[in-house]
Symmetry: C2
Subunit: 348 residues, 2 copies
DNA sequence: CTGAAAGCGCTTACAG
DNA sequence: CTGAAAGCGCTTACAG
């Protein structure tokens, strides 16, 4: 049925060894022989069996990718970035989900042990820490795409969370706001700390202080954003701007302000983080700190493939910078450029 | 380094054959022997090499999935549905993208020929028709997840586009609207035809007619929605409701109406299609026809695995029904239930 | 420049 | 109940 290397060898009247040689572009093959073999390959449409090649060579030319879930609004961009470079290099992408908790991690560990792939991309390791040891011990090359900004034991790629927070503050101060509120992500996330630190530093440099009563902990859901606004409006001090640590939260902030009769950006300016598709469609459209998700995916994949090629592991996280995307939630339409959206790169 | 079946056999003082037998739970193994082998397996942490098993058995326990792109707002749900059932059955998921056009399709065809997976899930085959022949000829089991509603040559799963359109019309008529406008998807998409047909049928049954001047062709982008509204407002007849063929278009419709000073839902009611995450965050939140993306992914994966298990191919497309999700874009908040969102299954 | 043979790590008749 | 041997489809020393 399926044409094998043996069949090609037979038809070309050479040995399998020779076919293998032309397949892999080794030198030391007579030109005429090579041509003959290639003709047979073309005529039969022969493609080497990935499994057999893998077994013989000890590699699979496949990279695994473990993600906490596929329905997160920013996952698509990361995946696309990864897929682009992985495919360009002729590698396969084996995707796994960790959304059934321990069970899926165990299942996944089996795949690792079964040597189903050569290297691994990890997105935001949930509580996989224990399982990660197995990976490390097995010598599997790993790169983590770390939304949380922690510094893990593996090579990682992240974004400039701190600088992103700083850019949000600079922008808000630049539009004349002075009483800045923040709805953070979960406290124990590294990215929350970083975004808050960058934000606070800029505010301080401007000679202002961040009122602690205006810093509310959220959980990255829009509900937490809306709840934060209710709380602030009920019992907090006045504020004229809100920095939400992600766009979903910012959407909740917008909803909360609207229900309370505050207008955006006139009464309150709002800045989000991420720049998910939603951000352009909120009312008003959301100014946000763009997280370069696709580039992060690309960078991680490139780094992993480099390691597979023998490159050394970097000992510092790879940082892909954020950028500020200005929309109407922080400034009036009339003062904005014709497109209604402008984008400026973060310094450095 | 890596522990192999030979090593396990040696330690358990049996042949590789016997180890293989207990691995695969064959009968005819002495109980005591089996226990001994299992102990060695547990002690060594032995996991059979996926590649070797695949080569010997001729199957990979991996399914391929080819998608047009990963950044579409609804792709995550489909992927998650697929991943859930595929992983539960112990299969791997090899993901490929077709967003580099012919090049990626060729690369993909190689994977097919290389027998890198046992079966294939296809999302919305772009213009892969020609390449599909290769798949068919190779006897590879294929299931297509067909957003376009065409009836392809392969087993497929789709949604009830026609009934979805009908539900939109029923809902709009039920809220007292009579001059219904539509912004469709591209004309040559099967789903566009189906959604329009279902919509029109209900309108006719109600004794009304669909004014052809109120049917604008869009292209599933929010820009096309906004442009359609401009056109309608400029030169079209009056209307009090808009059915957009997807949520992105509906978001554009909302923006267009807002800019023109029309209020939603008071002046105009708006219904979308899909129920992507965005839909709950537009202003006002969008009533929409929910497409059961996750269930579609699950259904497709289940069907494919069934075929791998020898089940016959269904000759009719598998249909997962839409449902109506009512939010504020078609009715006043005050008349809505406390949640602000209600959902009703489509009849049948 | 070329080929026979061993090996990658399993499974599966076949024989006992 | 168990094992030796062949086979899956390649690659890679090794020898010529």
């Amino acid at each position: 049925m399926r044409v094998t290397i043996a069949e090609v060898a037979r038809r070309a009247r050479v040995s399998k060894t020779t076919v293998s040689r032309v397949l892999n572009n080794k030198a030391d093959v007579d030109a005429a022989t090579a041509i003959r073999v290639r003709e047979v390959i073309a005529a039969t449409g022969y493609i080497p069996s990935a499994g057999a090649v893998g077994l013989a060579r000890g590699v699979t030319r496949t990279v695994g990718m473990l993600v906490p879930g596929l329905t997160w609004p920013w996952m698509g961009e990361v995946l696309q970035g990864v897929a682009d470079v992985v495919e360009a290099k002729g590698y396969g992408l084996l995707l796994s989900t960790a959304n059934r908790g321990a069970e899926s991690l165990e299942e996944f560990s089996r795949q690792v042990s079964a040597k189903a792939f050569d290297g691994l991309l990890l997105v935001e390791p949930p509580d996989a820490v224990r399982h990660l040891r197995v990976l490390h011990d097995s010598g599997l090359p790993v790169v983590v795409i770390d939304d949380r900004g922690r510094r893990p034991a593996f090579p990682s790629v992240g974004t400039s969370n701190r600088e992103g927070g700083a850019a949000a503050a600079r922008h808000l101060l630049g539009t004349g706001r002075t009483r800045l509120a923040t709805v953070t992500g979960p406290r124990d996330f590294g990215c929350t700390t970083d975004r808050l630190t960058g934000f606070r530093d800029v505010v301080r440099e401007a000679g202002l202080t961040l009122d602690p009563r205006l810093i509310i902990e959220g959980d990255f859901t829009s509900e937490s954003g809306e709840a934060a606004i209710r709380q602030l409006l009920d019992s907090g001090p006045e504020f004229d701007a809100v920095f939400a640590h992600n766009d979903l939260t910012a959407a909740g902030v917008l909803a909360g302000l609207r229900k309370a009769g505050r207008t955006v950006p006139d009464d309150v300016a709002v800045v989000g983080f991420d720049d998910i598709p939603l951000a352009a469609h909120t009312q008003p459209p959301l100014t946000t700190i763009r997280q370069p998700l696709r580039e992060m995916g690309e960078t991680a994949a490139r780094q992993l493939l480099a390691q597979l090629g023998g490159a050394p592991r970097p000992d510092e996280p790879l940082i892909v910078p954020t950028s500020l995307v200005v929309r109407e939630s922080t400034q009036d339409t009339v003062s904005a450029p014709d497109s209604g959206t402008s984008r400026e790169e973060s310094p450095r």
